[in-house]
């Protein structure tokens, strides 16, 4: 596959017009395209809603994904059920595609749990807060899957900033040395908080891979069809024993870094406007409205689903039960640990002592 340098691979142009690409197989039928659109619309709505909940103080913080729906949905919809995904804290679209109930995402951001889902059930690792900390896990997981003789693959999501972390580059070393069935998807959203991607690298990030001995591909991260095709092929390559691929999805974080961030401190409104015109949802919607058998009806049904999702989220957020104090100690160890038991007991008694006081 080509495309580590220069123009990112693309199937839908900025006007939503579909153009074949010699390197990409893009045989998506109407149902698939509708599915991708629906996913993107739903996570966009999820995002808007959660940002609002954060601003209302219902969530402690929120990390918006708006602008990155195509990269996340296109890649995550390429996974098979047995594959394992290792997301960052911004990959709600990936969580959505893995089937994690939206309400389960809130636990982390409301501060009731570090992670709200069982990673084994959804084959989605918890969000990685330490930037890059999960890249090696994906490689190890993939090595394990290969050692067990399965065709399962792993996918590791990274930001452009994460590409500077030593551990992430070590993950590239290991993946290459062991030909691990892993795909690295770097969402280059142009910013690591206030730092533009040029501060991390003078050359396109996809080029990084070749130096480690595996292919890098630059794809238009706002074109869900291209993302879907590129990641599907990379996963197939991984599964068949040909080793890792780095996919750089060139995209944009349209909102703030988190609900506490103010992007006006470091970037221009003009830049934001330029990228607004590249909105991945708008692009697929244009395509749909040209090609779908009944776009109006379909889009209306999506809108309804979105509204329902928003209601569900608001309700879920406000009814999320607070954790019991005992949970502090509950899963520190799998096996009995006397110190944990002692502290836990002490604290329970300590709390009781207050209740006893009249």
């Amino acid at each position: 596959m080509s495309g580590a340098e220069g123009q990112p691979l693309r199937l839908l142009d900025a006007e939503g017009v579909y153009r074949d690409h010699p390197d990409l197989r893009a045989d998506f039928d109407e149902a698939q395209i509708r599915g991708l659109y629906r996913d993107m619309a739903m996570v966009r709505r999820l995002d808007t809603e959660c940002l609002a909940l954060a601003r209302q103080g219902e969530l402690a913080v929120w990390t918006p994904l708006s602008g990155q729906e195509a990269a996340q949905v296109g890649s995550a919809r390429s996974l098979l059920p047995g594959d394992m995904a290792f997301p960052t804290y911004r990959d709600h679209g990936v969580a959505w595609c893995r089937g994690v109930p939206p309400a389960a995402l809130l636990a982390h951001f409301r501060g009731v749990a570090h992670s709200g889902w069982d990673p084994r059930e959804y084959r989605l690792h918890p969000y990685s807060v330490v930037v890059g900390g999960h890249a090696l896990h994906a490689v190890g997981y993939a090595m394990g899957a290969a050692a067990q003789g399965t065709a399962d693959a792993a996918i590791a999501y990274l930001g452009d900033g994460a590409m500077s972390q030593g551990e992430v580059n070590e993950a590239f070393v290991w993946a290459a040395a062991r030909r691990a069935p892993v795909v690295f998807v770097c969402q280059n959203n142009q910013w690591a908080i206030s730092e533009p991607v040029e501060r991390q690298s003078a050359v396109p990030l996809a080029e990084r891979a070749r130096g480690f001995g595996f292919p890098g591909v630059r794809v238009d991260g706002n074109d869900v069809l291209a993302c879907r095709a590129v990641v599907r092929d990379a996963l197939a390559r991984a599964r068949s024993g040909h080793g890792p691929t780095l996919v750089e999805a060139v995209t944009y974080r349209m909102g703030p870094h988190t609900s506490s961030d103010d992007p006006r401190r470091y970037r221009t409104a003009e830049e934001e406007r330029v990228w607004l015109r590249r909105d991945p949802l708008a692009r697929l919607r244009t395509h749909l409205s040209r090609t779908d058998t009944d776009p109006e009806k379909f889009l209306a049904s999506v809108d309804e689903d979105c509204d329902a999702l928003a209601r569900e989220l608001r309700h879920a957020c406000r009814t999320l039960p607070d954790p019991r104090p005992g949970e502090i100690w509950e899963h520190v160890y799998a096996q009995t640990h006397p110190l944990v038991a002692e502290e836990r007991g002490w604290y329970a008694d300590y709390l009781d002592s207050f209740e006893e006081t009249p």
Binding site: R110, H114, V129, V130, E195, Q200, L339
Partner: protein, 330 residues
């Protein structure tokens, strides 16, 4: 009640601002000083501690770095070897670990390794502690990993006045200094005296409240907790010491107090087990064995990773837990 760290003269400002003015002074005083880290330039840091400094001193002296803590500390070591005085920012406590190899095996060792030929006047600023409702790895207290590492000096400020003077003292210090800033207190306001003359040396503990019945030892965010506890205790007269310097520890000041009061409680947010309080307790016991009524009591975090924020008030030592420990010094 002595308030050595809060001179009556001086402007009132937040702790974050006090650090900012301290760094500004350090940059202005010495062209070798530079500030570096993630988002410290254009953004001015996520806590605004470096706000405006890049505009004033340029992006080469207030430098936005790539995202990698080993890179920040490792290149800073190289710059220090070339004669600069870098002040590195680690964005949050929980993100210092990628730099741990550089700090432990390089920064802390290089003076000994070169028999004093390499000077490493390098400061690592780390916002630490919890209680701000943040996500995992944004509320930790990793100080004990550093206090056990010979070659490093480790300090923590707890007031705007100290923040200002101590950051300037740290920058001026010829040794590497790990500088902890209490996140929870960034927006607390207090007087700041920009004249360094009257400030206590960076490695001195300060009695921030005098008392006679028991001694509370604290640093960073727990100084406030202990002062509140002392205030709330109507029956007993509690002395509160802000340790300020964790390595070295000002044993003399601490021991003198405990010898007088006969009771001692040490309070920090980090897990008690193997925490810095263990060293304080062991050392106080070594010096004041006969004076102590009971063992030194330790109050701190539990043997568990820092919990989700809805549980942090259970995890963090508060006024009640401090007073409960004080009870147990009789």
């Amino acid at each position: 009640m002595t308030t050595t760290t809060e001179p009556s003269t001086g402007t009132t400002m937040s702790l974050s601002r006090a650090l900012n003015t301290g760094l500004r002074a350090a940059l202005a005083d010495d062209p070798a000083v530079l500030v570096m880290g993630e988002d410290v330039g254009t953004l001015g840091g996520v806590f605004r501690v470096t706000d405006g400094l890049a505009a004033e001193f340029g992006s080469d002296r207030v430098m936005d770095t790539p995202l990698g803590e080993a890179g920040i500390v490792g290149t800073a070591v190289g710059m220090a070897l070339r004669g600069l005085r870098p002040v590195c920012e680690i964005q949050f406590d929980g993100f210092v670990f990628p730099a741990f190899n550089q700090i432990t095996t390089q920064l802390a060792h290089l003076s000994s390794r070169t028999r004093g030929a390499a000077h490493l006047p390098l400061v690592i600023r780390i916002p630490f502690g919890g209680g701000i409702g943040a996500a995992e790895h944004h509320g930790e207290s990793p100080e004990a990993y550093f206090t056990h590492t010979p070659g490093l000096r480790v300090v923590a400020c707890s007031t705007p006045a100290d923040a200002h003077t101590m950051i300037r003292q740290a920058v001026a210090c010829p040794d590497p200094v790990v500088f902890f800033e209490p996140k929870q207190l960034y927006w607390e306001r207090g007087p700041v005296d920009t004249d360094l003359g009257s400030a206590p040396a960076m490695d001195r503990a300060v009695v921030v409240r005098e008392g006679s019945d028991a001694t509370l030892l604290a640093y960073g965010p727990t100084v406030r907790t202990c002062l509140d506890a002392a205030e709330a205790d109507e029956e007993r007269s509690l002395e509160v010491i802000d340790l300020r310097s964790l390595n070295p520890l000002d044993t003399a000041t601490v021991a003198a107090s405990v010898a007088r009061t006969g009771g001692c409680v040490v309070v920090h947010e980090a897990p008690v087990f193997g925490g810095y309080g263990a060293e304080v307790a062991a050392r106080v016991t070594e010096h004041c064995f006969d004076a102590l009524r009971t063992p030194v009591r330790r109050v701190g975090g539990f043997c568990a990773p820092y919990p989700p924020s809805r549980l942090e008030h259970h995890y963090l030592p508060d006024l009640d837990r401090v007073l409960d420990a004080v009870d147990r010094t009789w």
